[in-house]
Amino acid sequence: MDYFLELFLSGLTRGSIYALIALGYTMVYGIIQLINFAHGEIYMIGAFVALVVSGVLTIYGFSGVSILILAALIAVIYSAAYGYTLEKIAYRPLRNAPRLSPLISAIGMSLFLQNYVLLAQTADYLPFPELIPDFAFMEPVAHIMGSAELVILITSATTMICLTLLIKFTRIGKAMRATQQDMVMARLTGINVDRVISVTFVIGSVLAAIAGVLVGSYIGQINYFIGFMAGVKAFTAAVLGGIGNIPGAALGGLVLGLAEAMAAGYISSAYEDVFAFGVLVLILILRPSGLLGRAVKQKV
C-alpha cells in the first residue's frame, strides 16, 4: 500500500508539473492555433536562470528562503521576457501565413534556444541547488512524501487557481476569452488583439518558469535539453485534456503524470517515455478532441 501511495504522490507531483507547462501550450493554441514548440525551451530557460541566480546568491552569502524567492522571481521575469520576445520575433510576422510556416518557425526557435543555452552555458548536467527546505512537520510521512513534493503540489494548485480567477474575472481575461472565440470580432469591438496574444505568451511563460524552478529543485539536476521531453509530455497532457481547454490541461497533466508513474512503477521504467507517446497516439485516434474538449466542426 505504501508503495502505491508513493507512486500515486510522485505521479501527482509530476502531473502537476506537466499541467503547469501544458497550460502554456493550451492557452496559446486556443488563441492562435499554433503549437508553440519552443515552449519547452522557455521552461528550460526558467530553470537555468534560477540555477544561475541561486548560485550567485549562495556565493554572495544569501541563505534559505530568500534565495528561493529571489531565484524564482527572477526566473519568472526572464521567462516572461523570453516568451514575449519569442512571440514578437518568430510568430507575429507570420500571423497570416500558411499553417506550416509558424510551426516550422517554432521548431527553428526551439533548436535555436536549446543551442543558445548549450553554447552560453554548458552541455553537461548541472547540479541544481536544493532550494526547497525540509520541513520538520513532514518528518513522520517523509518515507512517502517529501517536502519538495508538498511544495510543488501547493504551488501548482495555487497557480492554477490564480490563473482561473484571472481568466474568469479580470478585464484581460475577458479579452483573452473573446479573442479565443473570434479574433476578428474581438478586434472589431476594440480589443487590442496583438497585446492579448503577447499577454497570453507572457502568462504561459510565467507558468513554465514556475514549473522549471520546481522541477529543478525536485529532480536536482538540469541541462539544456530538458525542455524537449518536458515539452512533448506537456503537449500530450494538453491534447489529453482537450487542446485549448484550460481545466482540460490541468486534468490531462494529472492523468498523464499518474499513468506514467504507475507504468514506471509496475511495468518498466525504461519505457516510461514510450508510454507517454502511446497515450498521445491513442488519444488522437480514439478521441482527438480530448477528455474535456468538444469536437469542433471545421467550417469552409
Partner: protein
C-alpha cells in the same frame, strides 16, 4: 534614420538584459566560483544593434514586397536567372554536364577522407529529397523522419550480421521495411491535421530510439551493432578506400535515381494530388481525391527513401548505434528542405550539400551548426518561405492566346 538608431538602441539594451544571466554569468556550484564574462555583453550589444537595423529594414521590405505583389499579380511573372538556368535547355545542359563530370571525377583527384565526407553529404541529399516528398509535396510535416532511416539501417545490420544476407538483397528489403513502417505509422494518424501530425511523428521518432536502446535482444541496446559488411561488387575484393569510392558511386546513382523518380512523381497523378492536398485538404477531397491513399502514398514513399539510404549508411559506417538516430538528424534534414524550398528538387539538393559541406570545411563553424540551423528555419519562414530555389508549378500556356494579347 534617427528612428532606426533609437529602435536599434532599444533592441540592444533589451537583448543585453535578456542574455545577461546566461551569456555573462557562469556559476560553478561545486567550486563556488562565479565567472563574469563581460566581453560577451559587449558582443551581444553590438550584434543586437546591427541585427535590429537589418531586421527592421528587411521587415519594411517584406511589407512593401507584399503590397507590390498584389499590384502586379495579374501581369506576367518575369524569370530570374536561377529559374532560367533550370528551364532553358540551352543553359542547363552545359551546367549539368560540368556537374556530372566533376561528380564522376571527384574520387580520383581527392583523398579518401574527402570522399567519405561526400558520401555522407550525398546520403543527406537523398534523405532531403525523400523528406521533400512528404513535407514539400504533400505538406505533411514529419519530425520523426530519422526513425525510417534507422529502420533501414537496423534492418540491414540485423539481416547481415545474424543471417549473413548480402547488401544487394538487403537494399530493397531495407527500403520496403521503411515503407511498411511508414504505412503502419501513417494509418492511425491520417485523419490528424498538420500540427498534430508533427508532434506524433516527433513522438514516433523518439520511441524508435528508445526501443533501439532498450531492446537488447534484437537491437543489441546502446552498444549498437558492429562489423556490418560493406557493399560487394560481384565478389571483387576491395580495401577500405576502394569500398568508399564504390559507395560514393553507388550514392551518386541513388541521387540521380531519386531525382528522376521525384521529378516524374511531381507531374504524375498522385504528385498533383499531393500538391492539391497540401494547398487545401477539404477542396481536394471534395474533388474526389482519396485522401487516405494519397497521404499514405506520400508517407510510404518518403519512408522508402529513408530506408534505402539507411542501408547504405549502415554499410558505409559498418557500425551503428541508437545515438546515430536522434531527433537532431530529423531537424537537420528538415532544415535542408526548408532552406532549399519545399517541393523544389534543385533547391533541396543545393541546400543539403551546402548545409553539410560548410560545417565540414569550416571547422570553427561546427559548434554553431545547430544554432544556425534553427535561425535559418525561422529566417526562411519570415523572409523567403518559398526557399532558395522556389518550386515553380507547371503552367500550361497557349501560345496563340498570348501572342494575340501582346499584339493587342
Amino acid at each position: 534614420m534617427i528612428s532606426y538608431l533609437k529602435s536599434s538602441l532599444i533592441a540592444a539594451v533589451w537583448f543585453v538584459f535578456l542574455t545577461f544571466p546566461l551569456m555573462v554569468v557562469k556559476v560553478n556550484t561545486l567550486k563556488s566560483t562565479v565567472e563574469w564574462r563581460w566581453m560577451n555583453m559587449l558582443w551581444v550589444a553590438i550584434g543586437a544593434f546591427i541585427l535590429s537595423a537589418v531586421w527592421r529594414w528587411a521587415m519594411e521590405k517584406r511589407v512593401r514586397g507584399a503590397s507590390q505583389n498584389e499590384q502586379d499579380a495579374a501581369s506576367e511573372e518575369k524569370m530570374g536567372i536561377g529559374q532560367r538556368l533550370l528551364e532553358d535547355p540551352k543553359l542547363n545542359r552545359p551546367v549539368i554536364g560540368v556537374v556530372v563530370a566533376l561528380a564522376l571525377l571527384m574520387p580520383w583527384v581527392s583523398e579518401m577522407y574527402q570522399v567519405t565526407i561526400w558520401v555522407f553529404a550525398l546520403i543527406y541529399v537523398v534523405l532531403g529529397l525523400g523528406l521533400n516528398i512528404t513535407v514539400g509535396l504533400a505538406g505533411l510535416l514529419d519530425l520523426g523522419y530519422v526513425a525510417f532511416f534507422g529502420v533501414g539501417a537496423y534492418t540491414y545490420a540485423i539481416l547481415n550480421t545474424r543471417f549473413g544476407l548480402d547488401f544487394w538483397v538487403c537494399l530493397p528489403i531495407g527500403g520496403l521495411t521503411g515503407a511498411l513502417v511508414g504505412v503502419l505509422l501513417g494509418f492511425p494518424i491520417l485523419r490528424l491535421r498538420g500540427d498534430y501530425l508533427a508532434i506524433v511523428t516527433l513522438g514516433f521518432g523518439s520511441i524508435a530510439k528508445i526501443v533501439y536502446e532498450n531492446w537488447e535482444g534484437v537491437f543489441n541496446g546502446a552498444k549498437g551493432i558492429e562489423k556490418i559488411a560493406r557493399p560487394g561488387f560481384f565478389g571483387v575484393q576491395m580495401d577500405i578506400s576502394a569500398a568508399t569510392t564504390f559507395t560514393y558511386y553507388l550514392m551518386l546513382v541513388m541521387v540521380v535515381f531519386t531525382i528522376f523518380v521525384t521529378n516524374r512523381l511531381k507531374d504524375s497523378r498522385i504528385g498533383r494530388a499531393w500538391m492539391a492536398l497540401r494547398e487545401d485538404e477539404i477542396a481536394c477531397v471534395a474533388m474526389g481525391v482519396d485522401m487516405a491513399r494519397t497521404k499514405l502514398g506520400a508517407y510510404a514513399l518518403g519512408a522508402f527513401w529513408a530506408g534505402l539510404v539507411g542501408v547504405i549508411f549502415a554499410s558505409q559506417t559498418t557500425y551503428i548505434n541508437p545515438a546515430s538516430f536522434d531527433f537532431m538528424l530529423s531537424a537537420i534534414v528538415l532544415s535542408m528542405v526548408v532552406l532549399g524550398g519545399m517541393g523544389s528538387i534543385v533547391g533541396v539538393v543545393i541546400a543539403a550539400l551546402v548545409l553539410n559541406l560548410l560545417p565540414e570545411y569550416l571547422r570553427a563553424f561546427e559548434d554553431y551548426r545547430m544554432l544556425v540551423f534553427g535561425a535559418v528555419m525561422v529566417m526562411m519562414m519570415l523572409f523567403r518561405p518559398q526557399g532558395l530555389v522556389a518550386n515553380v508549378r507547371k503552367t500550361y500556356t497557349h501560345g496563340k492566346v498570348r501572342a494575340e494579347e501582346t499584339n493587342g
